[in-house]
Every structure is written in structure tokens, then in C-alpha cells.
Amino acid sequence: MQYFRPTTLEDAVAHLRAHGPGVTILAGGTDLVVQIRAGLRAPEAVMDIKRIAPLSEITRTEEGGWRIGAAVSGAEISAHAGLCADWPGLVEGVGLIGSMQVQSRATPVGNLCNASPAADSVPAMIAAGATVYVLGPNGMRKIPVEEVAQGPGKTSLRAGELVTSVTLPRRAARSADAYLRFTPRAEMDIAVAGAAVNLTLDDSGRCTFARVALGAVAPKALLVPEAGAALVGTMLESDALRRMAAAVTAACAPIDDKRGTATYRTAIAPVLARRAVALAQTRAAA
């Protein structure tokens, strides 16, 4: 196995061009190294992107949103005052990955590219309407975050492509997000189901914008437009929440596995979504 550790994006692209699909990107390594050790993957080459300076930064975008570099760790996000203020739901998703030790290595972009349906940072990124910047042989392209994962372990990224950053849009007033997941254990566990909600209220408390995303109830994290639509224009009263919950239930297409049954996942996803709405509503109104 070859190991590269470029310090510039140009070098990274050159390695990708030279080795093509044989190169696997290493950021935090909390998934990749475990998979290699377990014999699940045997990449020809591993390229560590942690020494590429711009990939390790959290910066403001020109639009007034945030850009999170592909090598930024979960712990750095949790410690970032601006992200905590604007995107508490995303920060709480990141803060649920593994343990504190894991979060100081693991990166949300890695979490995204590992394409686990249960990835804790992904539903909140989807609910946030995040955009993914992908550098490839033909330059940079942008895709909505929900289009990255295609199924367990599968992404829409092409050979030779590298995700460089994820951007979050500018925050409107009276907006907030929330992410809740269910695990039998408080920590060091994988979501049995997860729900992220991102919403904006007007001065009267009426919901003017909402996005709802789910984790661990389908082959990939899902955006559920019908669930968001059920909230927009309402005061988030119980009728609206019931319609939202019904849309969530309808979107669930989970499997039975060692972590939970399809029946159970489908039962708790709307509960989590409803609780996440309440949390986001409280935050937005504050």
C-alpha cells in the first residue's frame, strides 16, 4: 500500500490523476483505518489530506455562510463559536459521532463520504441545505449534500475526485436547526434512527421555511421535502406536526439489522422528527 501526504491541492490532484481509482482519501481515518484493519478494504494507495492547509480551515463564505474544509475535525467544529451559534443542530450531530476521542480525529466530510446511512452529521447537513465542493480532473464542481451518498458505502463521487469543503448557507434571522438520534446506549453507539430539522420562523412564530432530513431509515440519509412542506406556513401546531410525522413515516424504508428492526426504526423516526422540530423551534424563537 502506498501512502501520500500532499501539502497542496495541486499535489493532491496530481496524485489522484496518477493513481486514479486506486487512491483512497484519508482524513480522520476513523472509518478507513478500521475498515482496512478489519480486512474490508485494501486500497492500493492512501492519500492523507490533513496537511493541505486550506482543507483544515473553517471560513466565512462570500455569501455570509460558512465553509468547512474536508480535513476539519468534529472537535474543531464543536469548538467553533460561529458554527455553534448558526448551526447548533449540525454541531450536535457532529458531537454524537463516537466519543470525544473519535471526534478529535473524525471529520464530517469523511462521515459524509463514508456513506453510512446512519452517519450522524449528514442529516443535519442535508437539512441545512449544504453544498459540497468537489475537485476533480476537470476542476471544481458543486453538488447538493444529499446527492453525495447513493447507498451504504457508495457515493456519486467519480474516480479521481476529492471533496474539498462543505458550505452552509447564510443564516436568516429566527432560524435554527436540531438533530436527534436514538441509540440504546448514550455514547459509542450508531444511530438506530436520526432526524434533523432546519427551520425559520417569522416574527409571529409562523414557520416560513423548513427542511427535514432522516438518517438510518433508508439506504442513505434522506431529505423529506413533504415533511418540511407540512411545516411551512404553520405555527408548528399539533396538526402540522402530525402531517410532518406522517410524511416522515411514509419516507422510511429501513432494514432489519443487528442495530434495530425496520418496524422499530419506522416507529421512532417520526418521534425524533417531532422532538427535533420542537427543539429547533425553541432555538429559533430564542
Binding site: 436514538f182 440504546p184 446506549r185 448514550a186 455514547e187 459509542m188 453507539d189 450508531i190 438506530v192 439489522d257 443487528k258 442495530r259 434495530g260 428492526t261 418496524t263 422499530y264 416507529a267 421512532i268 418521534v271
Partner: protein, 769 residues
Amino acid sequence: MKDDSQPADYRWVGKRLDRPDGADKVTGRARFGADIHLPGELVGKCLLSPHPHARILRIDTGKARALPGVKAVVTGADFPVLEDRPTPVADYAFNLWDQARTLMARDKVLFDGHPVAAVAATTEDVAQQALALIEVAYEILPHVTDLEAAMAPDAPLLHETMITTGVAPGPAAPSNIVARTMLERGNIDAGFEAADIVVEREFRSKPVHQGYIEPHACIASVAEDGRAELWTCTQGPWIDRAFCAGILGWEMSDLKVVATEIGGGFGGKLTVYDEPIALRLSQLTRKPVRMVMTRSEVLRRTGPTSGSLYRVRLGAKSDGTLVAADCEMILETGAFPGSPLGTARAIAFTHLDIPNLRLSSAEVVSNRPSVQAYRAPGGPITCYAQESVMDEMAEKLGISPFALIRKNAVREGTVSLAGFPLENLGLAQVLDAAEALEHLKTPLGPTQGRGIATSYWKNGGGQTSVSAILNEDGTVNVGIGTPDIGGLRASVSMMVAETMGVPYDKVTTTIADTSQLGFNSFTAGSRTAYAVGLAVVGASKDLIAQVCERAAKMWDLPPEAVDYADGMLRPAGPNAGAHDPVPLATIAAGFAKSGGPIMGKFTTDGPGAGPNFATHIADVEVDPETGGVTVLRYSIVVDVGRAIHPDYVEGQNQGGAAQGIGWALNEEYVYGADGRLQNTGFLDYRMPVAPDLPMIGCTLVEVPNPNHPFGVRGVGEVSIVPSVAAVANAVKDATGLRFFEIPMSPPRVLARIAGARAAKDPSLKPAFR
């Protein structure tokens, strides 16, 4: 917490002193099983069966042997065939043939992960490549990984010729039922006829793993002349020696077993797995062979405790007098017999005076790893069934669980149905302390509940030998043969320091290897602080007698004319004041001129271990929409005889409760329809982590055991016994629903709530409707 402000009877005993192993463990200096390396060592690895049940038709190791770097390959054929009968080892009898076949399959594989071959190679990579080159032809057989399915008449048979024992007349046909037993007193039918209220229930549990953090690890070195050394993380180096020598057909004096530091055992390290394999590979290669299990191997290959089916019937008069109990315990033992029926029988209803009592049991094999001991083997599942039924009976009688026990508490001086004397009991004191807890006054919310459970544990003594050396500077080295899992070295040093009247920091306790002491039974059965305590006090007294003799010689007095106290020797009685007092260190320094080195010893069979009782109180909150159960508060009240080192005693109790909470709520093996284990790591084998637990309060009640110089009762096991039941009773109190199956995992709890809601079950509490 123990009230340390009480006037101290002792200088050291009962104090929270620094643990001697603490610094090494936090700095990483402590040497655990995988930390031992020897020059020229090879890596040993086992090839595991992917099938839960199959006949081994052929094993071709040719390609593996031909791989450069491979030094040896062994299969079952490289180990002796043993007689299929129990071999006596001290107080025990082990079927070494069963264990030999557990660690390396012979004709059949009996569980997913059953080893079929092993290699010794220069590196881990080569070893892994070699395993991939071993060709095994299997004839796949139907399998059964479920207790009740294994008892079905048409179940696949693990052992084709096994006839159930303990039934007369014996069955004609073989089955997976190993044995049945029955104990009875009084007249069970008459007892139930006389009852006004009868509660009858069934309870089910699944096998759970001990969950020790340190995977099994050993390194073996066999010399050209056949002398062998084995370092291993074990609870019992002498028992390991007996297993290894017996399985390999070696003489005991040829094998030295050295216990490394141990990262948890809980009963799971009372036996051997890779040790005989590493010895055989080392014998063949003449190189040290190191074998370290992965977590996946630990979960697939090593012993959980039994899953179970309990059928319990309890009868009472309307005044609360218990008149009859009938308890049938069916335990799942995995591939080979060895389930903890003896200890389960020993505790069932033992803290109660019930005139008509029947305890029947059965043991059933299935295609899972052979069970091994797990902290209070059989205790938590027995107590879960017993205390669930007691809880329901108290509810039907309209009295508190405490009142029901008090009315029926076992009387001092009786002998239990299983044959254990019940003397010097602390049950009443435990109940008094439990009922006085502030915890019981804490108000509960609409989705919260409180559970109470009380149980007995009999505790062990057993074979022990120790040494004590008086060094020439007056310090003391104590050698014991029982690995330190729960604070033994600190406790031993404290008991020696107290007995000898020397400072705690002048005593160093070391775990000796099998060539240095007589036989020692394992660190298990809550026996060590008790039996090793007896022995080291005996060895300390032996040292004192010897230094008195030396002083007597110096002063030309008879030895009985010398008094020893607080590290000083004085002429006593009519000779008092005849000579100046002499410190112990002076006698120690002068050993060469007073008769030679000064060394004490003591051996004992450890009689007189005292039983104890514990009450656990758990508060839980149940989420009506997810079925998630959160433990809010937890209190333990336990009779410990006397706490030598209260921190360790509390730690043992908190640890036991933590394991019980995991068992009650989430721990579960997930076997696929193919009979393969799916959750082979701690990520998905969900033991509780710190945030899952509240601070576990621990009230130590001290009713001294008169058979021990410091009054010790074992504490390692009683700590887990009532835990599962306390949590189950709390979930019942919160929801109104009694759970007859553990774990009470969120999907199971939610389904039960949904079912009760749909059926408009009136017992369902309003917050869940």
C-alpha cells in the same frame, strides 16, 4: 458510602489507602497478557469455523505449511484424545475433554468461531495468510442457537449419543438435554393447596458475555528438554496449569504458569483457550509462541453465561406468609455442559423461610460457545425470576417488598435446601439500612418507576497457600497465588500490615507463579479477600512467631516469654522490662546470626466463608415513544462483613450493578439465521458506557463474619445478583407492565407498550396510554 468518621478499630483495615497497582496502570507500565514479549517469538493464530454446526471431513494444511514464515500448523489431531469424564482438580472436577474440544474442534464444529486449526508464523501477516491457505472440507449440519428450539424433539443434536442424566428411568433417545436435577423439601402440592394467593410466571434471558476489557492473551515457551513456561492473563494460574497439563498430557512440574496483570475476568478467565495451543505450537517450533485474541474472537469463541427459561410458582397465605415455591430453571450451556446450575440452585429463595420448596433444573446444549462462569454464576437470572415474582406477590398482598421479606426472612442457623448453612446473617441489618435510605423518599414522575430486589449469595473459601518473607530491612514481601482483579494486593498488604503492626507501605504483595507456592484455587467465587485473608494473617502470625523465637534466643528466654506488638519485641510477663524493646527491623537485620532467613507460610482450605445479602434499589424513566429506559438513581445496600478497603468494596458493588444494568437493558448476542454471530464487537454488543449510568450509591453494612480475623465476607458477586431484578421491577413500576424477558431493549419495551395500549390493558400506567 461508608462513614469513615466512625471510630477506627484498626490502624489500616477500613482505610481508603493508595492502591499499589494504580500508578503502573495509569502510566501504562503494568504488564497485561499482550505486553509480554520474548526473544524470537512467533505469532500464533487460530482458524475459526464459519459454520455453527458442521462435520469436519478433511483439513488440508499443506499449502499453509509451505508458506515461507510458517513454522507450525496444528489441528485437533495434534492433541491427545482424553477420557470423557470429570477430572478432579482440588475442590473441583473439570471435564478436560470438553474443554480440549472447545478450544480446538475434533470431529465436528459446534459453534460459529470454533477453532479448527492454528498456525505459528514469523509475523501476524504471514499467520493470517497461512490461515487463508488451510483448506477445510465441512459437511454442514442443521444448527440450533436457541434454548427452547434446542429442547424440541426434532432439534439437531450436538452430541449424537448424549442421553439425559438425572431422570429415572433414563430416556431411550439422545437429546440436547444434558441433565435434570430436583431438590425438594416439604410437600409442594400440599403447600400450594394451602396458599390463598399464587403467582405463576415464566422468565426468559439470553446468554451474555462477561465483557472484560482485556482480550485473552498468552505467550508460551517450551524448551528443548520439555520444560515450559506460560504467561497468561488468568484468574487462576494453578487451574490453568491443571488444564494445560491435562489437555497436553504433561507433568505439572514441567509447566510454570505466570499470571500477568489482568484487565477483567468476571469468571471468563477461569479456563484456557489459546494456552494449550500456544504450548503445543511452541513445543513443535522450539520458539516462544504468542497468541492474542481479537475482540471478535473473544465474543465468538469464549464463554458467555447461560441463557435461561425459569418457571416460578409462589404461594402465600393472605397474611403474607409464604407457604410454597416451585422454581424450574432451564439453562442453556452452549456447545458443552457446564452451566451454573449449582450456584443457581444455591441462591433460589434461600433468603426466605418457605416450608415447601422445590428447585428443579435442566441443562441444554446449543450451537453457541460453551458457557463459562460470570460473576455470581446463575445468580442474576435466578434473582430476576424470584424477585419479579416476589414483587408481584407483595403487590397482590398490598405490602411493601421489604415487609414481605421481613415476614418470611430465613432464620439464623438453618441449612438451605441446597445444603449451605445460614449463620451469622446480616439480612435484617441490610433491610434496615435499605428502608432508611433517602432514595426511597425521592418523588417519581409519571413515566418513572422504582424497583427493589434483595438476594443472597453464598460466597466461597477454597484452597490457598501463601508466603511471607521478612526482609533484612524489616519490610515484608507477601506472595499470593491469586491474581488481583478487585484490589487483592492492597487488601492483603493492609491485612498483613494490621496483623504485624507495621506500616502499610512496608508490605509489598506480589502474585507468585505456580512454581513458587502450593496450590491456589482461582480468584473467583468471592473467595479471595476471605480465604487469602485467612492465609496471609496466618503467614503473618508465622513470621511473628519466628521473630519472637529469634528475640527469645537473643535474650535467652523461652519464646512464649516474648511479646510482639506494633513492630516491637518485648520481654513479657515476669521478664517484662528485663531487656530493652527491640524493633522488628533489628531482628530482621540480624537474621544471619540468629538462625537463618525468616520466611513464613500458611496453607488453608479456606473454611467458614460467610454468606451475604444485598438489596438494590433502581429508579428508571421509560420513554413512552421510544421504549428507551434510563436509569436515574441506583442504590446498593450490602452486608460486607468488614470492608478492608472501602473504595474497592464500593467499586466491586458498583461494577456488579453496572453489569446487571447492561444485562437487564441492552446486552444481547445477535445470531443470524445462518447461526453466525453478527455483533462481534463492543460497538454492537451494547454494554453500558459511563453516561448510561447514574452515580451508584453504596451503603456498606458491616456484620462481621466470625470465621475471619477481620470479619470479611466476599463482595465480588453479591454485587450483581439483585441488579437485573431491581431494574425489571423498576420498569414494571414505571409502565405498569412486567417484563418476562430480558434484555428490556427499547424495541422490546416499545412493542410491549404498543401492545398494551392497543389491548387497552388497564395495568398500563396513564402516561403510556
